[in-house]
């Protein structure tokens, strides 16, 4: 029987299966979950950035009608420990003690009958501080700078980069900076806690429900089996909902004290200090090449801000050292401790800040050499990881450059700055490379196949807009030979088998492999029953040759029987299979780690057999007004090769969204800091600029076909991050081409171009 394309699911651009729920308002995000008779919480945040709380005056707050409870370190400090640090070093505390680590630290929780009463009372809480002068950011008095020791992140020293640089014919030596950025998902940071017979249920937007469960168990000194975390839909995350935040345990404590559900919806402004952010960075890059354009030396040193006790850093030199063939490489990262909240991961955490200086420096080098920037990348392309000497599993960087350049019309570019113009608008064309490691998470899944031909897949995956619901259903439908509509997906619940952290472009490949494994178990059991049976069309055959396809069990010769009949040999009811997937590069206890709430991600930078990365190329046209300096991205074309794409429709949205994030990063976003108070000034989404619809013009994302049999069995690389990676540099390079001004500090603003 010929294959019917209507059954094809992996690789098909099908609409999101949860789409109807999303467009009708029926999709339940955490704060939408109905709970009976909730009380409402409002956080009290510190207005000092360093020091101690001397005293509280709660009289006015307690006098507000409807107030039920006020939590501070004085009455509940011993009831919860802080979350574990999410990097090396220690984490800041909140209500455990009187200590103040940063402005906007949680110092109290007011609970009341209504949201309005809780808010009024929270603003009536009086606080006296013993405050000290805080250190806000780079160059502030009192910061502590130290070299980041190798640990989670490595440095590279290949050859002698300093000597090669000194001896080279063409050299670029430049310093760069990137600003503080906040994720600002449109869904706020919310937490709803309910207790029942000593068990806790938490509704909270999360990128790692098992991680939050494990953290809460430690913080509240509970058996994790008595905690359930639910996040059926997550309203954007971008990294901000991956790390347990301090708020959750305090809301759980508040609900326990009242014996009543408590609901917190933190304000937009509070989100700037009760969760994480992308720290500001600085860079010193030295690039040297021969007259033929071949790189001779790369030296990349970074500086990153973190909090006073944490050593968190992103160390994007792990990518920049791998971009181009180069015999002499030296990388180094420094961390700068300040009196701020601890940063964390935000979309393409290492690569957004670190690829910016490298790819601008490459543009500067191309100009110094008189070479086309694309040709400079071609001359230095390599299939071998220059930092380690091992092979890339696949690397289609130049295919991406060639496809994007052709689509963009790059051949029509005149290289001289200020040489292209449209009336009062200076046109600039720029490009840059993008790369992101092909990470993959460990995971587990359960599949139930019923006699009615309906399947249910259970996996505690996270749909943060990344399309998890749909790609899980596609994988199961393909492997079970079912129509997509016959598959129901349950995710976002820590009572389900764990799927790990939805971050770092590791999730799609992690969950699809776990689901495929469970489906394979179903197939194998049905096939074994069919081949060991004395009767039926498959008796005596090799079970490995049978597949589930188009509602049938099918042999290589086309022999087929309905799935219902094949399943009946195994069970009269439903067949259940549970399987775990431990990707190459991870230890055998990795799924156990997930159950206990720890991360288990095999990183493309850390495998011992291969280096695995997705690559891309990004081209932009900017229009800079000659008189006002107004800068607009009028066109952006990106091409990305990321292995097998499960759903080109949702993947396209991820890539396009990433590219618009890049426009935002280069031209719009920056959290401004009042350095005297170490306080975020523009802590709202009117003054923290993100693009609105009218800011975005043509944005085209091209998916370049790529087969990679080495990266993992399904040949998948993630695509959640890579779209944003090259945009900072591509836009800065285009602005240079338009204006002749090389902007090395982001974001690029009108005042930089006047």
């Amino acid at each position: 029987m010929p294959d019917d394309a209507s059954w094809t699911t992996i690789g098909a651009a099908v609409p999101r299966i949860e789409g109807r729920a999303k467009v009708t308002g029926q999709a339940l995000y955490a704060s939408d979950e109905p709970v009976a008779n909730p009380a409402f919480a409002f956080l009290v945040l510190s207005t000092a950035a360093r020091g101690r709380i001397r005293s509280f005056d709660l009289r006015a707050a307690q006098a507000v009608a409807g107030v039920l409870d006020i939590l501070t370190y004085e009455n509940v400090g011993h009831e919860a420990d802080p979350p574990a640090p999410h990097g090396a070093g220690e984490e800041t505390t909140t209500m455990q003690t009187s200590r103040i680590w940063h402005d906007g630290q949680i110092i109290g929780v007011v609970v009341a009958e209504t949201y309005e009463a809780a808010r009024e009372a929270a603003y009536a809480v009086g606080v006296e501080y013993d405050a000290e002068a805080p250190s806000a950011t780079f160059d502030s008095p009192g910061v502590q700078e130290e070299v980041r020791e190798p640990g989670e992140h490595k440095d590279f020293a290949v050859g002698d980069a300093d000597a090669a640089f000194d001896a080279a014919a063409v050299r670029i030596d430049a310093r760069f900076g990137t600003p503080t950025q906040h994720h600002n998902p449109i869904e706020l940071f919310t937490t709803t806690c309910t207790w029942h017979d000593g068990s806790l249920t938490v509704y909270e937007p999360s990128q790692f429900v098992h991680g939050l469960r494990g953290s809460l168990a430690k913080q509240l000194r509970m058996d994790p089996k008595r905690i359930r975390v639910v996040a059926r839909h997550v309203g954007g995350a971008f990294g901000s909902k991956g790390i347990p935040s301090a708020r959750t345990a305090w809301i759980a404590v508040a609900a326990r004290r009242l014996n009543r559900p408590v609901k917190l919806v933190a304000t937009r402004g509070q989100g700037y200090t009760i969760a994480t952010y992308r720290a500001e960075t600085r860079h010193h890059i030295r690039l040297a090449a021969g007259r033929d354009g071949r790189l001779l030396a790369l030296r990349h040193e970074g500086w990153e801000v973190t909090s006073r006790p944490s050593d968190y850093n992103v160390s994007g030199t792990e990518t920049t050292a791998r971009m181009y063939a180069c015999p002499n490489i030296l990388t180094r990262v420094n961390i700068v401790h300040t009196d701020r909240n601890t940063p964390g991961f935000m979309r393409a955490p290492p690569d957004v800040p670190y690829m910016f200086p490298l790819e601008v420096a490459m543009d500067e080098l191309a100009e110094a050499l008189g070479m086309d920037p694309v040709e400079l990348r071609r001359v230095n392309d390599t299939q071998t990881d220059p930092a380690t000497g091992q092979a890339f599993s696949s690397r289609s960087l130049m295919r991406c450059f060639d496809q994007a350049a052709a689509r963009f019309g790059w051949a029509d570019r005149t290289p001289q700055p200020r040489s292209m113009r449209d009336g009062d608008w200076l046109l600039g064309w720029g490009c840059a490379a993008a790369a992101y490691p092909a990470n993959i998470g460990a995971g587990a899944a359960r599949v139930l196949l019923g006699p009615d031909g309906q399947a249910t897949v259970q996996i505690a995956a996270h749909d943060i807009g990344n399309g998890s619901h749909t790609i899980i259903a596609q994988t199961a439908a393909e492997r079970l030979g079912l129509r997509l509509e016959a598959v129901t997906v349950q995710l976002g619940d820590s009572d389900l088998p764990p799927a790990g952290l939805a971050a770092g472009s590791s999730h799609a490949s992690g969950i699809c492999h776990a689901v495929a494994h469970a489906c394979e178990d179903v197939r194998a059991r049905i096939a074994v029953a069919a081949t060991t049976s004395n009767a039926g069309p498959f008796a005596g055959r090799d079970p490995a040759t049978l597949i589930l396809a188009q509602g049938r069990l099918r042999g290589e010769d086309g022999t087929a029987e309905p799935l219902h009949d094949a399943l009946a040999r195994v069970t009269g009811g439903a067949l259940e299979a549970y399987a775990e997937n431990i990707p190459k590069g991870l230890p055998p206890d990795s799924v156990g780690k997930l159950y206990s709430g720890q991360m288990a991600i095999s990183r493309g930078t850390q495998r011992e057999d291969l280096t695995t990365y997705a690559f891309g190329a990004q081209f932009v046209e900017v229009r800079v007004h000659a008189r006002t300096g107004e800068t607009r991205v009028s066109r952006a074309v990106g091409a990305f090769a990321a292995g097998r794409i499960i759903n080109p429709r949702t993947a396209h949205s991820q890539l396009m969204g990433g590219m618009i994030w890049g426009i935002s990063s280069a031209l719009h976003e920056a959290t401004e800091i009042d350095t005297r108070a170490a306080r975020y000034v523009n802590d709202n989404i009117a003054e923290y600029l993100i693009p609105v619809n009218a800011d975005v013009r043509e944005v085209e994302a091209i998916i370049v076909p790529e087969q990679d049999a080495e990266v993992n069995p399904l040949g998948m690389k993630g695509i959640g991050e890579i779209g944003v990676v090259g945009m900072n540099a591509a836009i800065s390079n285009a602005v240079y081409h338009a204006t002749g001004r090389r902007i090395r500090d982001l974001p690029i603003r009108i005042e930089d171009l006047l």
């Binding site: 999101r16 309203g235 989404i685 975005v696």
Partner: protein
């Protein structure tokens, strides 16, 4: 204070704090959680609902001030199993969302954008949909969805 609200064709009598917003009444009192809270200060548009066909921000409208108007929320566009409104269908068709959190507000705003006559060109759609932030950045697909639904809604 005691108020009467007409929401999706149904009357609701309830007692509220004078400070309570329409958004909080919808979400916390009536279980209509399709309207979303993204900023609570009129910046993001996720709480957009229609009052007598005009788009308003639920977080910027006191519940008491919403009396006497016909209020339509995302839940009022298509009942269980009923056909989708052309704008809802267009958002599905164009993958005009990712996380979906801003989507109810985008759809309510988009319907008004069309009925106001502000969807004549793509530039006009971009301009008149700029009060609804989408951090996933589905903007080009939102423009395409509005352009499609406009025709199905009988507007040129």
């Amino acid at each position: 204070m005691d108020i009467v609200l007409t929401i999706n064709g149904r009357e609701h009598r309830l007692g509220v704090d004078v400070r309570t917003t329409l958004l909080d009444v919808l979400r916390e009192r009536l279980g209509l959680t399709g309207s979303k809270k993204g900023c609570d200060q009129g910046q993001c548009g996720a709480c957009t609902v229609l009052m007598d066909g005009q788009r308003v921000l639920g977080c910027f409208t006191l519940a008491a001030a919403a009396q006497g108007a016909a209020i339509t929320t995302i839940e009022g566009l298509a009942g269980d199993g009923a056909p989708l409104h052309p704008m809802q269908q267009a958002f599905l068709d164009h993958d005009a969302y990712q996380c979906g959190y801003c989507t109810p507000g985008q759809i309510m705003s988009a319907i008004a954008c069309v009925t106001e006559g502000h969807a004549r060109t793509e530039d006009e759609i971009r301009e008149f949909m700029s009060g609804n932030l989408c951090r996933c950045a589905a903007y080009p697909k939102i423009v395409a969805a509005v352009a499609q639904a406009k025709l199905a809604m009988g507007h040129a």
